[in-house]
């Protein structure tokens, strides 16, 4: 770990030296000893991690030194170590922001040692948190989160970039699996609000009777089972971003309530009387066409216009051309890396197979297909045979191939023959066609 810098400001040279040597018993500590407040203030630019400050100094009072340190560096913890046993002074110093107040007595050594360890641990946790936040930030850089060179994606990147510069509400639409939540996170982590919370709520996953308490919170005793106060998602996301996924599924009576909260930037917890000011940035997403839902009377028009903000419509994967191959390579590399497998390349045949598929599950489905392909492949290539599509919407995929009726017929017969272990009689019976038809096609190598 880096050196933990401690200032000891103490006018008694003996006691000061004693504290210096004591704190230096921990080799991670670098202790600086000062005999006056002014000497210490002249070196405060070193930015110690902790200050041990004698209250009574020859030049300045401890209170004055505390004020001046915090005027420049309010985050530096200052512990007052004093011969004064005046409770009023202690309270005043703590009120002014002193980290702690120790009277010089038999417990000083232990208290100072423990406080130093506590501050060091906090510092390490803060550093760790800061590093993690940076990592998260990197993870959500546009280029890392959304792969693709297609014109469609370049247009999306430009819109996202605009969204990060203001607090405008963003409405993201797109088929399932197109990455709506990833886009919301990328906007949040690239905006001024990156250090504040990103709170995601999947509206469709919360029963109607619970959604209000989830979003607005409640006071203790608001209803049976409300044993403690609960802070709602709007409050949690205050100063950060609230992502309301599948907002199109929200009950119409609830829509009126959130409209008021979004418009007024204030809410009242269930069972509470106090109005709480909030300031979340709102990003919504839906797989529905909200304009149509408004026409049908399923979605409030006023809320629609309030949340529309900057609309970002994510294209389905099948419309993104070569992006499929870019994403496939990315998913294969990531999966192999995470699972300690040798890197695998995707053969031309496998690529062609990917490019002709419709991907109703979009990027999410592509990822699953590629990960399965990595598992099925023994060597360093993913072959066409390793690419298996398991879309639940197989009929629509089948039709999306847009082939000839003759080819469709052949595919269907092949499917039934495989299913019934090449029992021609059974396959013909199931399809209500003559056996001779199948035999003829087999003879002519049409199957």
């Amino acid at each position: 770990m880096n050196t933990f810098k401690i200032f000891v400001i103490e006018d008694d040279p003996f006691y000061g030296e004693l504290l210096r040597r004591h704190l230096a018993l921990n080799p991670d500590n670098e202790v600086f000893l000062f005999k006056s407040g002014k000497e210490a203030l002249a070196k405060i630019h070193i930015q110690p991690h902790l200050v041990s400050l004698d209250y009574r100094l020859p030049d300045l009072s401890g209170m004055e030194v505390l004020k001046r340190i915090h005027a420049s560096f309010p985050e530096i913890p200052v512990i007052i170590v004093s011969g004064q046993e005046d409770i009023n002074t202690a309270v005043e110093l703590l009120r002014m922001g002193a980290y702690d107040y120790f009277v010089k007595d038999d417990h000083t050594k232990t208290r100072l040692w423990n406080a130093t360890n506590k501050v060091r641990e906090n510092m390490l946790l803060k550093n760790e948190l800061s590093e993690l936040k940076k990592e998260v930030g990197k993870k959500y850089e546009f280029a890392n989160i959304l792969k693709g060179n297609s014109e469609e994606m370049q247009r999306i990147f430009r819109l996202m970039s605009r969204a990060t510069k203001t607090n405008i509400t963003v409405s993201i639409s797109g088929e399932t699996g197109t990455g709506k939540e990833l886009v919301a996170k990328a906007i949040h982590y690239n905006s001024d609000r990156a250090k504040k919370p990103f709170v995601a709520v999947n509206v469709s996953a919360i029963p109607n009777e619970l959604i209000e308490s989830e979003l607005f919170g409640y006071e203790k005793g608001a209803f049976t089972g409300a044993n403690t106060r609960k802070i709602g998602k709007f409050e949690q996301a205050s100063e950060g971003t609230l992502f309301l996924d599948e907002i199109g599924e929200m009950d119409i009576s609830m829509q009126a309530k959130i409209l008021r909260v979004i418009q007024e930037n204030e809410l009242t917890r269930i069972g509470g009387n106090t109005t709480i000011k909030i300031n979340p940035r709102i990003i919504v997403a839906t797989h529905r066409n909200l304009a149509e839902e408004v026409q049908k009377g399923n979605f409030r028009e006023d809320l629609y216009y309030r949340i529309l903000g900057l609309p970002i419509e994510l294209p389905p994967l099948r419309d993104r051309g070569n992006d499929i191959l870019i994403l496939a390579k990315f998913f294969a590399d990531t999966f192999c890396n995470e699972n300690a497998l040798l890197p695998k390349t995707i053969t031309k045949e496998a690529q062609d197979k990917l490019l002709t598929y419709s991907f109703p599950g979009n990027v999410r489905e592509l990822r699953a297909v590629i990960e399965l392909g990595c598992v099925m492949s023994d060597g360093d290539t993913i072959e066409a045979s390793h690419i298996n599509f398991n879309s639940t919407n197989s009929l629509s995929n089948f039709l999306l191939e847009e082939t000839t009726l003759a080819e469709y017929s052949r595919k269907i017969i092949r499917y039934f023959l495989v299913k019934y272990n090449n029992n021609v009689t059974l396959a013909a019976k199931k399809l209500d066609i003559g056996k001779s038809t199948i035999y003829r096609m087999l003879k002519n190598n049409e199957l």
């Binding site: 003996f14 006691y15 040597r21 004591h22 011969g83």
Partner: protein
């Protein structure tokens, strides 16, 4: 007194009992540090005693209050409780200067005690 072991180390003089256990605990029971700290104490205290005497001559109660306050923790670290309490009494009386005779008596006694403490500590130092 033996500076080279961990046994409880204390010396009784006519007026003071000093005890190095607390000092040892602060410096991780390191003998070299203990010696350094006693040497520092012997360097500082005579100067502080001189300041007390000068202040007393000038009836400078502010300085008396400050110096007596300042030396208390050092006395405490060496287990010199009786002397520390005398310094505390001077600190308190010197806030107002109302009881001049008592102050004079206490300061004189404190200076004598500091002399005796230093003498004892020097004797111990010579044995090192």
């Amino acid at each position: 007194m033996n500076f080279n072991n961990n046994k409880k180390t204390s010396v009784m003089s006519e007026t003071n009992l000093f005890n190095l256990d607390k000092l040892r605990s602060y410096v991780g029971n390191n003998n070299a540090d203990v010696k350094d700290m006693i040497a520092l104490f012997l360097e500082i205290i005579p100067a502080q005693k001189q300041k007390l005497q000068n202040a007393l001559k000038k009836s400078d109660w502010g300085t008396l209050n400050y110096i007596s306050h300042q030396i208390k923790p050092s006395l405490d670290i060496l287990g010199l409780n009786a002397t520390k309490e005398k310094a505390r009494a001077i600190e308190s009386l010197a806030k107002t200067g109302n009881e001049e005779e008592v102050i004079r008596k206490f300061v004189t006694e404190l200076c004598q005690e500091l002399d005796a403490i230093c003498k004892n500590l020097r004797t111990e130092m010579e044995k090192l």
